[in-house]
Symmetry: C2
Subunit: 254 residues, 2 copies
């Protein structure tokens, strides 16, 4: 086995790993970052291992930084995947044969290829600022609309679904959008973000009323011009109020 | 080392474990089940290991069943604890010396005492139906009010706090109470449950209005009698509607 790869396996946890669902919002669609495994046609979520002395949260931040180039990422654990067969219907032998083609015949070592429990983290990132970077076992990156995600390796389709469900739940107690929208945005753009996460259309007037009731938006004197319709007002988040709403959560409002 | 203990360690994951925050509601107070470690004065949450071929969710169900005797438990993962020093300020050596006193001098084996990443599960149980049962490393059980929890071993105080926060969040998208209250209950009893979870008093009229708006309660023709005050109406959950609200979640209601 390649000495660098062996050193990486030796210095990391053997039974635990991290996988990341990185959400970006682009052209009115919620997208997820995927990586293609070397020598295969298999796509997966970005992921990695945890160094023996590293906390899992630090490892998640490091892995995301390595994959996206972003330093300040809103990142959170959403679920830990510990099925006893996370390879599901995959042909595991065939996958490892392909990886051997890319990494050498001694790539597969039972000692390092144990059953892994994977901690799922999700991040919301500014699409425009991401420099997607493959890692040692992948050679291609792709942003994929959540409605068009192909069959992924392992249990990664389930991971995307669970992350999306967690994101939906979050809308009921925390604001969203700061890391997903440009600094200035219109109310229809914010609504489109919510709609793409919830997977359903929302009533325009009720949406605006609810958003304004959170008291986290600042209405700007400018308008978005250039469109075919009446120019809509621009808003931006009041960062201080937004952060307080994130911390205190909008809980059971009675 | 005791052969049974060794066999248990050999047949379970080495780097991953499970800890459970078991909530019960009793005499108007939210309580948590704690266990005292043999030969020590140290209290911890109930927990256990995962068999090599067992899914983590199955392991959590098994562990909870072993500790409470309950088969149908509402159980969910709430967070995974993976700090690189989960012993915090504890005197780890002193703890293991005490355990050696109880389990024999060869109890401590580096091979089995690696850093553990622990999956936190929480359960809401009917207090009256629980038969709390210590396991191989503990010899006493205690239900403890969440406002009076002593200093626990490892990072277990943090676990209780994070579980409570997750439970609070849950109130914003799912109903609660079916596993915590007796079959028939009054509106003030339901309100007391919410108040003890949220740690704050709620307005009686707004609470009742919100609860009835969920359309999961059935008002019974009977009243609770025997109290000093005006007899309050009794309610019970409409199980079908309750289950649907659990499944569909009360999300972002616009």
């Amino acid at each position: 086995m390649d000495p660098k790869l062996k050193a990486y396996f030796e210095s990391t946890l053997k039974e635990v790993s991290i996988d990341c669902v990185i959400f970006g919002f682009h052209e009115g669609e919620l997208k997820v970052l995927l990586l293609k495994w070397k020598g295969t046609e298999g796509w997966s979520l970005p992921g990695g291992k945890i160094y023996l002395e590293e906390s899992v949260n630090d490892a998640a931040v490091r892995i995301l930084q390595e994959r996206t180039g972003l330093k300040e990422i809103f990142l959170q654990q959403f679920y830990t995947f510990g099925g006893n067969d996370r390879y599901k219907n995959m042909d595991k032998a065939a996958l490892f044969r392909k990886l051997e083609w890319a990494f050498g015949a001694d790539f597969y070592d039972e000692k390092y290829m144990k059953r892994h429990v994977s901690l799922g983290y999700m991040a919301l990132v500014e699409f425009e600022q991401v420099v997607a970077t493959p890692d040692w076992y992948t050679d291609e990156c792709m942003w994929c609309e959540i409605s068009a995600i192909p069959e992924l390796l392992f249990d990664h389709n389930e991971m995307v679904e669970v992350a999306l469900k967690a994101l939906r739940r979050q809308l009921s107690y925390q604001p969203i959008g700061y890391n997903l929208l440009p600094e200035k945005f219109t109310m229809p753009e914010l609504q489109r973000l919510y709609e793409t996460i919830l997977g359903k259309q929302l009533d325009r007037r009720n949406f605006q009323k609810l958003m304004l009731s959170y008291d986290i938006l600042e209405k700007l004197p400018e308008k978005r011009t250039g469109g075919a319709f009446k120019a809509p007002f621009l808003y931006r988040f009041d960062k201080e109020k937004y952060d307080r709403a994130m911390r205190e959560e909008i809980l059971f409002a009675i």
